[in-house]
Assembly symmetry: none
DNA sequence: GATGAATGAGACTTCATTCAT
DNA sequence: AATGAATGAAGTCTCATTCAT
């Protein structure tokens, strides 16, 4: 984490502008440079001093946000003891994340394309390591630290478990996405069922 | 299913052109009318005789393909007796689907946007019913017919079960998407783990 | 009038369609062939059997209407004795004309352009003679028959008188055009002032 | 007149390009953005930095020219003492105006349409006031200042007088328009007859 | 003779990117 | 270093006209 890249104020202004536009409901493939720099309060030309491309602005903004999200999630998680509570926390954070900028979801979306942006994101492996921690390492640390080494899972089994957990997390995310105006009671019920489901997933794997 | 909408040859040419472009890796928000009509072998203006705008071309093409996918999946499924084999079939079909146009995934993506296209798709409820069967009805028929009425699940439990299954299916899809050049052996192992996982999901729900 | 061109039913259908569209408020430079033939109830291709051009359809339609207008005005005028009453009649007919299709005004407008349509109209001198009577001959016959030969006006004076009268008629037309929702009382007052003005014009010329 | 809107060089380049195209005989509803910006010597996109759409370019160009025309006419008029001489001046200016871009006439034409452009012009009341003087105020100042208050005309009579004068001015304009290659002698004769006619109009009203 | 499906030239407009200041 | 005016390629959509049926 020591080799973490520091961003200049202008870069961060761009990142926050992109996020703010997401929060306002902008669609990722319709963001314009003018909107971004306008919101960031800097000149259009200036942005090109720091980024080679519009796609780079967006891609880095998404990563920046994802990193912030993960780091703060990790810290928060230290307060939770049981796996159940940790997962519940993750689900709650997903809720606010979805309700706000929904950046993670956009990241998944965008990274599945062969668009300029998609390629940019996929080609950002360097970036990930620049962050000091790859997202899945963070994830591993959070969820996996309890059992990762405790039980001997084959490589395949480990990979499957990770996928199964991520699937459920994403499933909950998509569900929220599609049901923005969910009643609190129902949301809570669903959250608990998903949480229990993920725990069962882990238990099944460890037996 | 008798009131199924018939499409004219030009419409189908457009649908297939869109699909073909997807297969070639085009991104949904970067398709151009010129590309589509060029690939379809018709004039640009002709497309506008059949569709009101570009978004409609793409949205209907995706639905058309999804319908074809579901119908053929349903037919194929009749040959499989056990739930396990049915799910295995679905997973295999997802594999070819992903390897080809990956239309279903794009549908999910696009429908989560606030883009013109996203709204177009979301406003297509009528279309779904025109197809005789809504996608989730098809799904229900395939997976759910065995237990849907047999055991009494609460509304929430039913909904969760559906989401859990879809999550795993999507999870497998995304995994494939991200690992296009997977070795057959590993793919098969993963497929079986996902299949077992889904079955366990069902069993857990029914206990 | 014996060499008057007869139009086929299809041609007349086109003429009436154009007029109907004008009545509905269509703008001359935004009429489409599809609209015209649709309203006329004939095929798009059929129209091109009778007219070489869209512009020809519109130009001939306007002339056709103008001719009808003038002929019927001429007939109606036979019932009026005094010059004053005749001019009053013309003004009243202008009122309904403006309220309806406003064809004459469009004719003036269009013929002042160098558009395809404008040139078409300007190049239609042959057409005018086909009609048996040029518009200004009709006009002459209506207004001028009383004094045209009675008093000796120089060529210039005759031309000026004609222009002065037409100017006032057009002036009244434009006034109505710009004040579509005029109160009847005011309209009547204006009509009478214009009528008196035109009569004074004639008197002045004859003194 | 001190709060007069200043236009940037690019805006003026557009205005002059539109005018130049009019001079070359272009039709108002067939001007293209490419033509305008080409003639103006600027990029197509640049025009959209200053105007929201094509109609605005044309509408403002016409107003700009009309304003220039009126202001310079007003100044010139200060040198003429009698009403007769003033009107003669107006007629002469109309001659050059017609011979050149014929902008005023196009303004009248365009503003009578229900086209986008027509509505744009009709919705430009604010613009007119920005100019410091509305066209009819200028007109009033020029022609009317002599008698406007001197004699008591009813509202209707005032309105009619204004219309009668404008009709004759327009009548002269249309006459010139239709007879572009008039011999100087005849033009002069006509001009004087029109001038006398307008003066008579005024005298008649004041009796 | 009648038709209307098919066409493609061409219109408007957007917006990522550059570069002179 | 910062800017934003200028640009033009590229995209969507319209519509007059043709031609096979």
């Amino acid at each position: 984490m020591s080799n973490r890249k520091e961003f200049s104020p202008k870069e961060i202004a761009i990142f926050q502008a992109v996020l703010e536009l997401f929060r306002e409901g902008a669609d990722i493939s319709h963001l314009t440079v003018a909107e971004i720099t306008g919101k960031a309060g800097i000149g259009k030309g200036t942005a090109y001093e720091y980024f080679s491309d519009k796609d780079e602005m967006i891609a880095k903004a998404i990563f920046y946000h994802a990193e912030q999200f993960c780091l703060s999630l990790y810290e928060q998680m230290l307060g939770e003891k049981s796996v159940y509570d940790r997962i519940l926390l993750v689900l709650k954070r997903i809720e606010t994340e979805i309700a706000e900028a929904n950046c993670t979801f956009r990241l998944i979306q965008a990274s599945c394309n062969k668009t300029g942006l998609g390629q940019k994101i996929q080609g950002m492996e360097e970036l990930k390591s620049v962050y000091g921690l790859k997202p899945d390492e963070i994830f591993d640390r959070i969820i996996g630290s309890d059992f990762g080494t405790a039980v001997s899972l084959s490589e395949y089994e480990q990979e499957y478990l990770m996928l199964a957990i991520i699937s459920k997390l994403c499933g909950y995310g998509i569900y929220l996405q599609k049901n923005m105006d969910l009643q609190p009671a129902k949301k809570e019920a669903m959250r608990e069922m998903f949480c229990a489901g993920i725990c069962r997933e882990i238990e099944d794997a460890l037996v």
